[in-house]
Amino acid sequence: MLRKVNDAIQVLDWKENITLKNIELFRQEVNNLLAQEDNKLMLNLAETSYINSAGLGIIAESVIQARQNNKELVIASIQQSIKEIFVIVKFSSFMKLFDTEEEAIEFLMVNGHA
């Protein structure tokens, strides 16, 4: 279920770990987020403490796909365990990662595409 913040940002709140069991649902939800007309997009992972490799791939591809469509997808509310995975896979080298939703909103409102 998507949520709109500041009348400008579409937020996907993913509520669990990303595993083999729900990977297809995750793919669908993220595709749905990308299909929104808004160009400021956020994936909120506040309740996620594990992401499998397929999930990492979906996130990476979605960020690239958003960019190709002149949109910005950022990842927010990243827990410590996810941060450790993101450091190893060097996601910060090509996507915006934020510890809190507030920081993500601030970034999108200032820097996001018009």
Binding site: A60, E84, F94
Partner: protein, 397 residues
């Protein structure tokens, strides 16, 4: 063949319906008719015994599976026991039926012609309204062929595993370098792999690859990459170029076929070029856990430069790292994330545990050093086996 006893007779014998006078009785009659049709036509075999184990009813599918017709009625299931299970097996089966009202499992039984077959079985207890057991009903399926097919597949996978193992590099041991590796796939086939090549008189390229995911597909991706490694490493040598070339290959692996339904595959990798003349290593990682560079005094450098996993992005920017080492006094350790992943524990923390074990065991020979460190990691993570493939390479420089 003698036709098995009809369920209708069973209902008649038990006077379930005598003269149908009202609506509710007519409903019962309707339900019984449906039950009888199901019983006669279902693909699963059914036999029903009384509480003393004497077979009272069978359906046509039971006869098709076992070859036994009506002559089995009045006998007990012991008639078709295979002799493959001991008394304890049947005791625990009946115990479960009594306690849980149900038992599910596989039993080897014997057809009328003596042929053994594997039977998937569900036994249910049928009670009357006051809870008193009346009958035991067993629903059976012959799964002998399915089991044979599974075993053939298992044999094929074992063979594939041997092929995969044979593709791993053999240790190199000379006066300037000693390289050895260890590989434990979590399932029969895995997506981890390591290789090393002597590039020229004094340079060696060492690579470790972890294709994300497990099983046959990962193993095939792994072998596909494996076939290119020697060419790419010998041609491009430097970490930046080697990873870029590998990325091109993995990225295009499934994307070229537009109609393809296959999902994308990614791999993480660690690649190091060791120059034994200059006592220098150059390296880059692609989404891979840090390489350890351990010195004689126990200091550990974490080598973390690199890029994202290969196959994720069309174009990658690779940062490389550069280190000097003291010859005969340095160990370089590459490993896959299977060794540092455990539910609810931090990757960094687990990495620290692995690092400490390696430092502690560095005076052993390389095989022992790897073996003990991996065993220690199992103990530290309080697990009996690793969920993921476990792969380690140590180079004594």
């Amino acid at each position: 063949m003698v036709m098995p006893k009809n369920l209708e007779d069973f209902f008649l014998e038990h006077k379930f319906f005598s003269s149908i006078t009202n609506e509710s009785d007519r409903n019962i009659a309707g339900r019984l008719l449906v039950a009888d049709k199901l019983f006669q036509n279902m693909l699963e075999g059914v036999f029903i015994t009384d509480t003393t184990g004497v077979i009272k009813f069978i359906n046509p599918a039971f006869s098709r599976i076992t070859d036994y017709g009506e002559e089995i009625i009045g006998q007990t299931p012991r008639t078709f026991q295979s002799g493959k299970h001991d008394a304890t097996f049947y005791q625990s089966m009946w115990q479960s039926v009594e306690q849980n009202g149900k038992w599910e499992g596989e039993i080897w039984n014997k057809k009328r012609n003596g042929e053994l077959f594997l039977q998937q079985t569900t036994i249910t207890i049928i009670k009357n309204e006051s809870g008193q057991a009346l009958y035991y009903a067993a629903v059976i399926t012959d799964i002998t062929e399915r089991r044979k097919a599974e075993e053939r597949l298992k044999d094929d996978l074992l063979l594939a595993k041997e092929v995969q193992k044979s593709a791993l590099s053999q240790p190199i041991h000379n006066e300037s370098i000693h390289i050895a590796g260890m590989y434990r796939p979590s399932e029969l086939l895995g997506g981890d792999m390591y290789a090393w090549y002597q590039i020229d008189s004094h340079r060696y390229g060492i690579i470790m690859i972890d294709v994300m995911g497990h099983g046959v597909a990962s193993a095939l991706v792994c072998m596909s990459v494996r076939s290119l490694l020697r060419g790419i490493i010998n041609t491009f040598i430097e970490p930046e170029r080697v990873l870029e070339e590998l990325n091109k290959h993995v990225y295009s692996l499934f994307r070229e076929k537009e109609s393809s339904q296959t999902k994308n595959y990614y791999l993480t990798c660690a690649y190091v070029v060791v120059d034994t003349n200059e006592h220098r290593i150059r390296y880059a990682l692609a989404g891979h856990p840090p390489v350890f560079l351990i010195s004689t005094d126990g200091d550990v450098n974490l080598l973390e430069e690199g890029t994202v996993p290969l196959g994720m992005l069309k174009n990658i920017v690779v940062k490389t790292g550069d280190h000097q080492y003291t010859p005969q006094h340095a160990w370089m350790v590459l490993y896959t994330d299977g060794l540092i992943e455990s539910e609810g524990k931090s990757l960094r923390g687990n990495m620290g545990l692995l690092k400490n074990a390696l430092v502690k065991n560095r005076s052993m020979n390389l095989d022992e050093m790897m073996h003990h460190s991996i065993a220690n990691q199992l103990t530290e993570l309080s697990i009996s086996t690793f969920q993921d493939d476990v792969t380690m390479v140590v180079a004594k420089l």
